[in-house]
Symmetry: C2
Subunit: 336 residues, 2 copies
């Protein structure tokens, strides 16, 4: 492996000068810079990040916390788009990314320890159990962090605007003439709570009376569960004119059940999803769903974190909200 020392010898310079030249510092002869760079290239010089890191305490590595409790994290489209865009945005700024786990060699460790071990300049917490003491530990540590879809006090976060999302859905349903709305939401995470809040606020705003029996807890990404709840909702004599699902996969489960009951969508009953995954646009009828802007969420999280890393003192905690947009689709019928 060719190193700076080798270049120095070949150029008849000191390692210090070569290092400076390679970094284009100003206190060095431009011709020397040019010469050194040329020789370095010829010799196939590749810097060694470990040596650099050891000296500078700056790794240009960003740690990622993507913990899939149910083996679902990375494989869900929402998160994989976020990941993909974090990667691209970090790359643009010269940062690499690595996953943070609770494993260090043969031993267990905390997320903080792992991130420290790898000298991460910052950590993006994309999906994790935010109540986990080990997650809290890293957030409250000196490592800059940014959370996605969760707010810690005095820490920056990027949030998909779930309140607005529900409001947009309700507004659309209202305009389409729906007044008898069922809402199946996911397990009670903070995201879910925001959606529930948005749901009630919007209903109240539009003077829609909420039937509490029609607000039901399901499970994210488990079509069977929403299918079952759908069946129960349909049995109601005064059944809802529209059902809102926690996500597009759940919506699919609902659709399956509805069709099994011999009902047509949207003629007999309307349905709405959430997320706006690719599938929602490929299905016929096209799903009415709220498209979360996962691309922007990934980008913003990376940008903000890098901003904090670059200006640790100056940067204030910020809660960035990323709005999505309603995909009207074809699964909601206009009433009257």
């Amino acid at each position: 492996m060719v190193k700076i020392k080798d270049i120095a010898e070949r150029c008849g310079l000191s390692v210090a000068s070569v290092s400076k030249a390679l970094h284009g510092k100003t206190d060095i002869n431009p011709k020397t810079v040019e010469y050194v760079k040329k020789v370095a290239k010829e010799m196939g010089y590749i810097p060694n990040s470990s040596a650099r890191m050891l000296k500078t305490n700056h790794s240009y590595i960003i740690g990622l916390l993507f913990i899939d409790s149910t083996n679902s994290g990375l494989t869900h489209e929402y998160f994989s788009i976020i990941l993909s865009n974090i990667r691209d945005e970090c790359k643009k700024h010269g940062y690499d990314i690595t996953f943070i786990s609770n494993q260090l060699g043969k031993n267990e460790c905390s997320y903080y320890e792992h991130a420290k071990y790898r000298n991460c300049d910052g950590v993006i917490i994309a999906c994790a159990d935010f109540k986990d003491p080990r997650v809290i530990e890293i957030v409250e540590s000196e490592i800059p962090t940014i959370t996605i879809d969760y707010d810690f006090n005095d820490h920056s976060s990027v949030n998909s605007d779930n309140i607005q999302g529900m409001k947009d859905i309700i507004k659309y349903l209202y305009e389409m003439g729906h007044r008898n709305i069922a809402f199946i939401h996911g397990e009670l995470t903070s995201v879910t709570q925001k959606r529930i809040k948005g749901f009630y606020n919007a209903c109240s705003e539009y003077g829609i009376e909420v039937n509490e029996d029609f607000v039901r807890e399901g499970r994210y990404h488990i079509p069977k569960v929403s299918g079952q709840i759908t069946r129960e909702l349909l049995q109601n004599k005064n059944r809802p004119t529209v059902i809102i699902y926690p996500d597009d996969y759940s919506l699919l489960g609902g659709i399956t059940e509805i069709e099994k009951q011999g009902l047509r969508i949207p003629e007999d009953i309307s349905v709405v999803g959430y997320d706006g995954i690719l599938l929602s646009r490929l299905m016929r009828p096209i799903f009415t769903t709220y498209v979360q802007d996962a691309v922007e969420i990934g980008k913003k999280a990376s940008e903000k974190l890098i901003e904090i890393i670059d200006n640790p003192k100056v940067t204030l905690p910020e809660r960035i909200s990323v709005v999505g947009k309603l995909q009207e689709g074809q699964t909601v019928k206009k009433l009257n």
Copy 2:
């Protein structure tokens, strides 16, 4: 940051002894080991990987090449499952992963340079343009690599068994009485070539006469394209009894077109997908498709690479084939 020297001072030992104790070496008093470990824990010692790497030339980092040229990449379920399982398997062995790109700080670089810069012990090439000189460069370098779904001479690879996949499909179709089979395949990658080969071989084996007009090139993951080709196939007077698609998303495009033409699946025409993504099991009718074992592919790739890293001399290049299984589903009709 507490370092070995701090522990040494506190324990009244040399840094060498502390280092040995921390690694549980044998030439050190067990009581000392215990004591040192206790003190290290108390002081919150976290090793520094850069220093370690610099000294040992062993990073415990595996580089990942996941280049998404538009259609493939992180957001496709097949690859995200592979990624997820690479991550888990590497973690199990104490390895971390990082993405390799062509960006090094502010400058462009080759994949090899990037991997070298980060001292990757090995690289998994999961999706990339295998004809790209920069991909070839890293494969032919001294860095251990393993490719997924592509074979380089004298290099290890893990392959989803595409030939077997097609054979299983044809066998099933044959048993279901189909003799007039259309096959829409993806753009001509090496994977596609294997599938085509498997298709022809199997047809010949079962005495199925292939109508060349019914073997068509489509595009992976572009439902519209397969929809268009489907339409053309349906216009044929002696139209096929079954259409095989390059993937499940494409199949969805085909289904949309078929239903638009007022035909029913599988009563009027049968269809078959490839991949076996989650969606294929949620749709009604359930897709008949070949389920690739992405979990196993990710695991095997990691295992094999780590084996090569651990035994660079001993390990022979190996082409590992991972078979999937046919999901019979409900989109193929039994004829006669």
